[in-house]
Symmetry: C3
Subunit: 172 residues, 3 copies
């Protein structure tokens, strides 16, 4: 038996993480937070700190910038908040990973997780075409990853100004 | 008794202003237009002129680049079109305002307005992460402002290619 | 008698072309593909090749970077996939065309087409304001074109992570 799989899509500062947290709260009495972000600079450190303060007690924080499989395979019924697939993608591109393999491994690990998994991801493709090739590659890779995550999710929600736009399934 | 509060969200050239105008027309026989834009350059002057020509008679235009409170507190039943919160935010950031205070004041003024208020705002967070820190700060501030405006609105509508995607409440 | 007119809107790598192809498959046993893209560089050549391989047999490919009217006027019942209006717009801006005329011609040609026409277009206005004036002009022009295409379409669908968000009409 496998827990519900939810994908939360949104732009920057759209309220997607807060929305995802509220959903995870409703799925169990204790929770796991899989953090993809690494503290490279002050801007990112501030953001991680703000998010952690908002969450408070009851969360186990697991840092997994590249490989989520060991954590997701655990026999643990606590719902998982995976925040976020965009940072995970960025980490892999930076590390020079084979993206097809990395993506396939991520998708399998999420699908097989016995607990509920709420994945947060960014919409990055609705602006003007970026000048530099790397940014264009990133948004292609992000778009393909989002499509794959959405395909296997039970529920997909776009968050706009903190409000849900349900694209697939029903809110748990 | 306070009038309905509506938030209209959309990308650039999405038809959000036209949609907002049509809504305001349906809310009263005469209307107020609170303009945040200032005529810094030809591009902006052209845009303001195009919008004004489209609106025509029956509108009182109030220029309020920073502080809307006096106008919104007026005992005046004419519905207000506030176009737009993005330019207002930009004006405040440029002026070096304390944003927490400015945002709290704006939210209170809208909530307390006896007339209907239709606020137009931009979605700016669905593109690739901008290169420069100022642009990243702007989209963070815009995102947070949109979430706060949406939270207190009776009705929130995203406009895409001129078409409404209702996210909260029902169209007035 | 004129075929159904559908507009498919989406960001980069949102799955909009795949979604549009699936829709066109459901509309007839054979299909026409109107390609706006020209093979300027390797990145574009790769993309065109990938799309063509995905489509396979049963498609007639017509290259029409600027003028679709002759093809759309043909007495031919095979549904048309026009991919995409963004590249078409870019070609016209690059060619220095009069955009008002070009847009009016495109809209008339689509409206008058005896066959079903599924038009794919990009959402480019939901990121931060671009630094350069040309990019700002492009997103204005794209926004206005999308509004005009949506206004005369029977059905408008936004595609997000491969999933449809129906904005107008019902899916054929």
């Amino acid at each position: 038996m496998s827990g519900i799989k939810v994908l939360i899509l949104g732009g920057a500062a759209s309220g997607k993480s807060e929305f995802a947290e509220e959903m995870v709260y409703s799925l169990g009495p204790k929770w796991r937070y899989i953090a993809s972000a690494e503290s490279f600079d002050d801007e990112m450190r501030d953001k991680i700190k703000r998010h952690a303060e908002r969450r408070g007690e009851g969360w186990q924080v697991i840092e997994a910038p590249l490989d989520l499989a060991p954590e997701l395979a655990a026999e643990d019924s606590r719902p998982v908040l995976f925040d976020c697939a965009t940072m995970w993608l960025s980490n892999h591109l930076f590390a020079g990973s084979d993206m097809a393999t990395a993506q396939a491994d991520l998708l399998s690990a999420i699908a097989a997780c016995p607990a509920a998994v709420v994945t947060v991801t960014n919409e990055v493709g609705q602006g003007i075409v970026p000048d530099n090739a790397l940014a264009r590659q990133f948004r292609e890779a992000q778009g393909r990853l989002n499509i794959a995550l959405a395909r296997q999710a039970d529920c997909v929600v776009q968050v706009i100004a903190g409000l849900p736009n349900v694209l697939k399934g029903t809110l748990p």
